[in-house]
Symmetry: C2
Subunit: 407 residues, 2 copies
C-alpha cells in the first residue's frame, strides 16, 4: 500500500499472468522442437500497438533473436512476442539471423501484426539450428489459438529445465479505473548443456510512453532480475520485455508514477524470486540484505559477492553457520568495508557484532538454517547504502544436473 497523491493505493496480487491485463491474448503449444513433446512455442499478442521497452543480455556472444529483437524494439513499439524453447538459436551464424527474422514474419502475418512490431526470443541448446518447418507450423497454430486465458499455456511453453511455470500479476486502481500488470518468466536452470537463459515478458494495460517505460523497466530489473543469482553465468539469450497497450484507459502521469513503479517492482521481484526458488538443485532460498554501505552500489557489490560465493552456497546446503565465508566474500567484493564495524545476522540472531563474534544462541541459528527460506543481514555500519538480493544454495544436484548430461 503506497501513497498516490493524497490517496492510498492498494496493489493487490491477482491470479494470472501475461494475459491478465486487458487486450492481451496468448497461446502456448508443442510443435516438435523438444524431443520430449512438451510445449515449445508461445505467442503473445496485444489487440493494439503497445509502447515497449526491453533489457537484453550483456553477453557479447548474443543470440540471433536478441539481435533481431533489439532492432524491432528500437522504435519503442511492439504488438507481439514470439518465443520458442528447446533451441536457443545462439551461435548459429547467418542462418540463425534469417530464422529469427522469419519467426517474426510468420508470427506477424498469422497474428495480423507488423513483423517489425514482433519481438523474437529463443531459449534452449546453443549451436543447434531451429527446425523451421515445425516452428512455422507451430506459430501458425498458436495464432489460431490466441486467447485471453492463454497466459498459463504460454508460461509453460517458454520453460526449458524449469520445474514449474512462473507467472505473477497485480492490479491497482487509479481514479477508479483498474490497471493490471502481469508477466511470465523462465529460469536460468541450465540443466541441459548450453541451456542458460532468463526470459521475462511483462504486459500492462496502462498507457506509458516508451521512454518512460524503459526507465521504469530498468529500475525494476535492477531490483529483481539483476539481484538474483543461481550460478553467476550470464546467458547468451537473456531478455526482459515490457509492453503497455493503454487498454485500461489509464495513463501513467507524474502523480501515478510511484504506484506504477511499485507495482512493476512487485511483479518483477516476485518473478525473479520464483526463478531462484527453481534454481538448479536448489534446496534453500536465501535472501541477503546488505545495509550501512557507503552507497547502494557498494551494498549491491557486497551482497552479490556473498550470493555468488560457492563456499557460502555450499555452507547453506550444509546448514552450517559459516559467517567466516560471508565476511570473506564481503571483503573481496570491492565494496568499501571496515572489518571492525561489520554486523552479521542469520534471521534475527546476531552472530557478528562490530567485527567480533557475538554471544548468540546456536540453537536459534540452527533453526534459521534448517528452514527452507533463510535470511542473512549484513550491516557494514559505514553509510546509508543498501541492497537486497536472492540466491539459492549449492547442492550435489547442481553438479549432477550439469555434469551428467552429455551433449
Amino acid at each position: 500500500m503506497i501513497i498516490n497523491g493524497t490517496n492510498k493505493v492498494n496493489i493487490k496480487q491477482i491470479n494470472g499472468g501475461i494475459t491478465s491485463p486487458k487486450g492481451f491474448r496468448a497461446a502456448g503449444l508443442a510443435c516438435g522442437i523438444k524431443a520430449s513433446g512438451r510445449k515449445d512455442i508461445a505467442l503473445v499478442v496485444s489487440d493494439k500497438i503497445c509502447s515497449a521497452a526491453a533489457v537484453f543480455t550483456t553477453n557479447k556472444v548474443a543470440a540471433a533473436p536478441v539481435r533481431i529483437s533489439k532492432k524491432h524494439l528500437a522504435d519503442g513499439k511492439a504488438q507481439a512476442i514470439i518465443v520458442n524453447s528447446g533451441v536457443a538459436n545462439a551461435y548459429t551464424g547467418k542462418q540463425g539471423d534469417l530464422d529469427a527474422v522469419r519467426m517474426a514474419q510468420v508470427a506477424g502475418e498469422a497474428a495480423g501484426v507488423d513483423s517489425h512490431d514482433t519481438v523474437v526470443a529463443s531459449t534452449g541448446v546453443i549451436g543447434a539450428p531451429l527446425p523451421m518447418q515445425n516452428v512455422e507450423a507451430g506459430i501458425k497454430e498458436a495464432a489460431g489459438k490466441l486467447s485471453e486465458n492463454g497466459g498459463f499455456e504460454a508460461a509453460e511453453a517458454i520453460m526449458t529445465t524449469d520445474t514449474f511455470s512462473k507467472e505473477y500479476a497485480v492490479s491497482f486502481e487509479i481514479d477508479g479505473k483498474k490497471v493490471v500488470i502481469g508477466g511470465m518468466a523462465k529460469g536460468s536452470g541450465m540443466i541441459a548443456p548450453n541451456m542458460a537463459t532468463m526470459l521475462a515478458f511483462i504486459a500492462t494495460d496502462a498507457a506509458v510512453y516508451p521512454e518512460t517505460l524503459g526507465v521504469f523497466l530498468k529500475s525494476s530489473i535492477d531490483k529483481s532480475f539483476n539481484s538474483i543469482t543461481v550460478d553467476g553465468d550470464t546467458s547468451t539469450n537473456d531478455m526482459a520485455v515490457i509492453m503497455a497497450n493503454g487498454e485500461s484507459g489509464v495513463e501513467i502521469t507524474a502523480e501515478s508514477t510511484a504506484v506504477f513503479k511499485e507495482a512493476l517492482d512487485q511483479v518483477c521481484i516476485e518473478l525473479a524470486k520464483l526463478i531462484v526458488r527453481d534454481g538448479e538443485g536448489a534446496t534453500k532460498f536465501v535472501e541477503i540484505d546488505v545495509t550501512g554501505a557507503v552507497s547502494d552500489g557498494d551494498a549491491k557489490k557486497a551482497a552479490m559477492s556473498v550470493a555468488n560465493s560457492n563456499l557460502v552456497k555450499t555452507a547453506f546446503f550444509g546448514e552450517d553457520a559459516n559467517w567466516g565465508r560471508i565476511v570473506a566474500a564481503v571483503g573481496y567484493s570491492g565494496s568499501e568495508v571496515n572489518p571492525d564495524k561489520i554486523d552479521v545476522f542469520y534471521g534475527d540472531e546476531k552472530l557478528i557484532d562490530s567485527g567480533s563474534i557475538a554471544a548468540y544462541n546456536p540453537d536459534r541459528v540452527d533453526d534459521v538454517l534448517r528452514a527452507k527460506d533463510i535470511k542473512v543481514t549484513i550491516n557494514l555500519n559505514i553509510g546509508n547504502g543498501s541492497a537486497r538480493v536472492w540466491t539459492c544454495d549449492f547442492s550435489y544436484d547442481y553438479v549432477k544436473i550439469n555434469a551428467e548430461y552429455h551433449t
Copy 2:
C-alpha cells in the same frame, strides 16, 4: 633454456624446496594447534639478512598476520618466516594483532633474528584465537631443529586441507656459479569451514635489490598464482613472499635478469599448478590458453572467466565437450570478442572454427576429455594478446567437502 647475453643458460629442476638455496634452514613440527596432531608450525631462517618482497591478499578483511607482515616487509628486508596452520588468526580483533606480533618476537628471539625482519603467516579457521602457549613452545622447539634439510617438514607444516605438500626448486649457473631458487606453497583447498588460504614462500641465494625483487615477484605471480582458480573465492590470508640472501655470490644484473625471471616464473608456475592439482574434489587439471585477444589483459579476463565458470567446470567433471558454455563464458568476460571469429580447440581437435561448428572427430575429443590433464585453446583472432591459466573440474566432492563439514 634461454639466452643470457651470448650464452645459453640451462634452468634445471632439482629435488628440494625452500632450503635448497644456500644459507637457508627450516623446521616443521606439531605443537598442538591442530586437533589431528599433524604438523602446524613452520620456521624458515636465512643465515644472513635478505632482500625481501611480498604480495598480499586484496581482501579488505585481511588477517592479523597479513597486516603485521606488511609492516615488517616495508623496509624490503627479512631474515625469517614463521607460519602456523590450523588457525588463520583472521577476524580476531586486537588480540589477533598482538598474537601475530608475539609470534614474530618469539621466532626472532629463538632464531637470533630481529623480530621486525620476521614475516608472520597463518592459515586455518577464521575467527578462532591462536593457542599462544602451544604456538610459543612450538616456535622455540622449531628454532632448535632448524636444518638445511628441513624444507620438506616446513612444507608439510603449512598444509591445512592439502592432500600433499608442495615444493619446487631450480638451479642455473651464472658465470660458473650456481644459483638456486626454491619454494613451498599450500593450496586454497577450503575443505574445513573458513579455511581458505594460498601461501607461497620462495627463497634464493642470488643477490637482488628489494625493489627489483618486488618487480620480479609481481611479474611471476601474475603468470602463476594469479592465473589459477579453484573456486574463485579470495582468502583473507593469502600471501606470497620471496627472500634473497646473496649466498651464491651471484648478483642479478641487467644481463642475468632474463634468466632469473625465467627461473622464478618456473618455480611460481609449478607451485601454482600443484595447488590446482590439489584443488578440492578435483579430478581433472585443465589448462586454458587464450590467444588472439586485443591485449594480454583481455586474454586473461576471457581465460579466467572460463576457468571460473561453474558450468564449464561441471562439464569437465562430466567429460562433456560443452563448447557452448566456454563460448558463453568468453562472451560475458568483459573481453573484446567477435563471435564470428572465435576458434575453440580441445587438445589438438578444433571444435569451433571462426564461430561455426567444425567437422571434428568426436572420438578424439572424447579421448581428450577422458584424460586427467586437459588443454583448451581459445583463439579470439582479433589481436595478439594471450594468457594461460589453470583450473580444475567441479565434482560432487567439492560440494561434499564444503557442505558436510560443520562449524
